[in-house]
């Protein structure tokens, strides 16, 4: 009974507090133990896969902040990944290869772009917002393809991963994996702290009913803009990590299809849960790798799977498993 009520409240919207620490603790524990597992089973490439998941999870978590808690469906998150990645690439090509410079620059560029474009975007709502964020993403994409000195469409190879204060720590794949995981943890904790703070409560209130919040006296657009900028900055971190993990940057990183995939990851996991963003990234990328290994036409299977998740699994996979869990444990 109580369980059912809890679920009902839980699904009512984003006004609930983020779930307890059990689920995220488990998720991060699994991630932390991955390299050990990989070493035991001599499957080194699992660390590569894990790194890829963590990198995109960073961007997905930020996107969930916007979509799930702010009600702002951004189709331009990939642009920030691209900006962060190109910051690393361009600095590296100019001889600057230290993370102490690259990371802040990546974040700064993303924040700046988010601020400028956000001023235009936040004025719109609904599908207009989707389209304008997509438009800005496209602009950055075409800009990148015209950067002939940085490879244009071919992309740019980075000589080596960033050093940290001169130390070549990130060269080792496992070390890099933990560094990325640390970034994910930091982003996750930041977003979680934001959501339970006053800022977060206002944001969620705006998502529920913007008019009411405006009437109470909050400058709705200012809060939305700040959320947009924060999400952009974290996206830049994701880009920094992506460039370093693949040692390559290309305009393809900011294609609108990539933004679309991020949205899918967030929804698949369960929008408005933050944990869902991480979980959704893992499921999406693992499914992509696993299925594409089985058949060339894996999208024929994955497409309907997405449709089914939407139709029957409200709240994404996390929502689905919570319901199953409650059903089995509460009889």
């Amino acid at each position: 009974m109580a369980g059912a009520a809890a679920i009902a409240v839980g699904e009512a919207g984003s006004l609930r507090r983020p779930r307890g620490i059990a689920l995220p603790a488990v998720i991060f524990a699994v991630f932390a133990l991955l390299p050990a597992f990989a070493a035991l089973t001599a499957q080194h490439y699992l660390v590569d896969t894990g790194t890829r998941i963590v990198v995109f999870a960073v961007a997905a978590v930020a996107l969930d902040l916007l979509v799930g808690y702010g009600g702002l469906i951004s189709f331009g998150q990939a642009a920030f990944i691209g900006l962060g990645a190109y910051a690393v690439g361009i600095l590296s090509a100019s001889g600057i290869g230290d993370a102490l410079i690259s990371l802040p620059v990546a974040i700064a560029v993303s924040i700046l772009f988010a601020w400028i474009t956000g001023i235009v975007c936040i004025r719109t709502k609904g599908v207009y917002f989707i389209m304008i964020t997509l438009a800005f993403g496209q602009m950055v994409y075409f800009l990148a393809t015209s950067l002939a000195p940085y490879g244009g469409d071919n992309g740019l190879t980075i000589d080596a991963r960033n050093t940290i204060a001169g130390w070549q720590v990130l060269k080792n794949d496992t070390a890099f994996y933990y560094f990325a995981l640390l970034c994910l943890l930091a982003s996750y904790l930041l977003c979680r702290a934001l959501i339970v703070s006053r800022f977060g409560r206002v944001l969620r209130g705006v998502k529920e009913n913007a008019t009411r919040m405006a009437t109470i006296g909050f400058t709705v657009q200012r809060f939305q803009l700040i959320a947009y900028v924060i999400a952009g900055g974290i996206g830049g971190v994701s880009g920094f990590l992506l460039a370093n993990s693949t040692e390559f940057v290309a305009p393809a990183y900011m294609a609108w299809q990539q933004s679309g995939e991020l949205i899918v990851m967030v929804i698949l996991g369960g929008v408005g849960t933050l944990d869902g963003a991480i979980f959704g990234s893992a499921v999406y990328l693992l499914a992509e790798e696993w299925l594409s290994g089985m058949t060339e036409n894996w999208q024929v299977i994955f497409g309907p799977f997405l449709v089914l998740v939407v139709l029957f699994a409200r709240g994404g996979l996390i929502g689905l498993s919570t319901r199953l869990w409650h059903r089995f444990s509460h009889g």
Binding site: V67, I73, V120, R123, T124, K125, G126, V127, Y128, I130, M131, I132, L134, A135, F136, Q138, M139, F142, L143, T145, S146, A148, W256, G260, I263, V264, I267, L268, V271, N297, Q299, V300, F302, G303, P304, F305, L306, V307, V309, V310, L311
Partner: protein
Amino acid sequence: MTATLFLVQVLNGLQLGVLLFLIAAGLTLVFGVMDFINLAHGVQYMLGAYLAVAFYGLVGNFLFALILALLASLGFGLLLEFLVFRHLYERDHLDQVIATFGIILFLNHAVRMIWGAAPLNLPMPEALTGTVLLAPGQLYPVWRLVIITAGIGVAGGLYVLVTHTRIGMLVRAGATNARMVSALGVNIKQLFMIVFGFGTMLAGFAGVMIAPIISVEPGMGTNILILAFVVIVIGGIGSIRGAFVAALLIGLVDTLGRSFSIDVLHLVMAPSPARTVGPAAASILIYVLMAIVLYLRPAGLFPARGR
């Protein structure tokens, strides 16, 4: 840059605009009346082209292939509506985006599995394969003129349908306030189905008309879908008039931008950078236009709903 070239480019822009209108019309209606974001509209356009190719292989006549393809598009669209979309009307936009995205993935690949990845050809009717002499040295394909005429014809027909028939009135009312229309006793489910089916047919029609000019291949609907969304956003969701104006505007801006961007840039920079910046600038132009329109009118030029 001569006057003739400019005129021809305007004609080209109109042709693109008319094509965009055919696709955007269905999209904006579905969005306006049912508040349903249908990303899969692009694959409906692609499917129209593929079905026409398939039927042409069977009957060998373009007109019959066109009619059969339209009917098949309609049937398939209604099937999708029944199986999937119907359950999504009450859901929020996010769920609709994901579900229709899943359908895109599925159909793009299913089409590839059935017809192969190689581009396919749809021959146009023999009589219309020629060119017309517009000006000395400038031959213009007859088929493009056919597309422009067909598109304007459909636009005219839609206008009459929407403003002078009962169904049209219901559609306009539904675009303004669907719940009220339902409360007034209209079978809203049936209305939705009609709107959806019609929109599908329009997209399929666009696909068949353009197929003789461009190759039919998997994923051909994706790029034009983005343009169509730009059109309906600029035009205003739910407004056919807005879609028409915006489609022509986008068609002209894109075509003229592509053809003359480099010449314009030549005025301010050296030829070599102008050549690489020009195309990028031309591609960005539409998005800049959309950003400006949305900045000034956040709900588009002719929004249907009184918000």
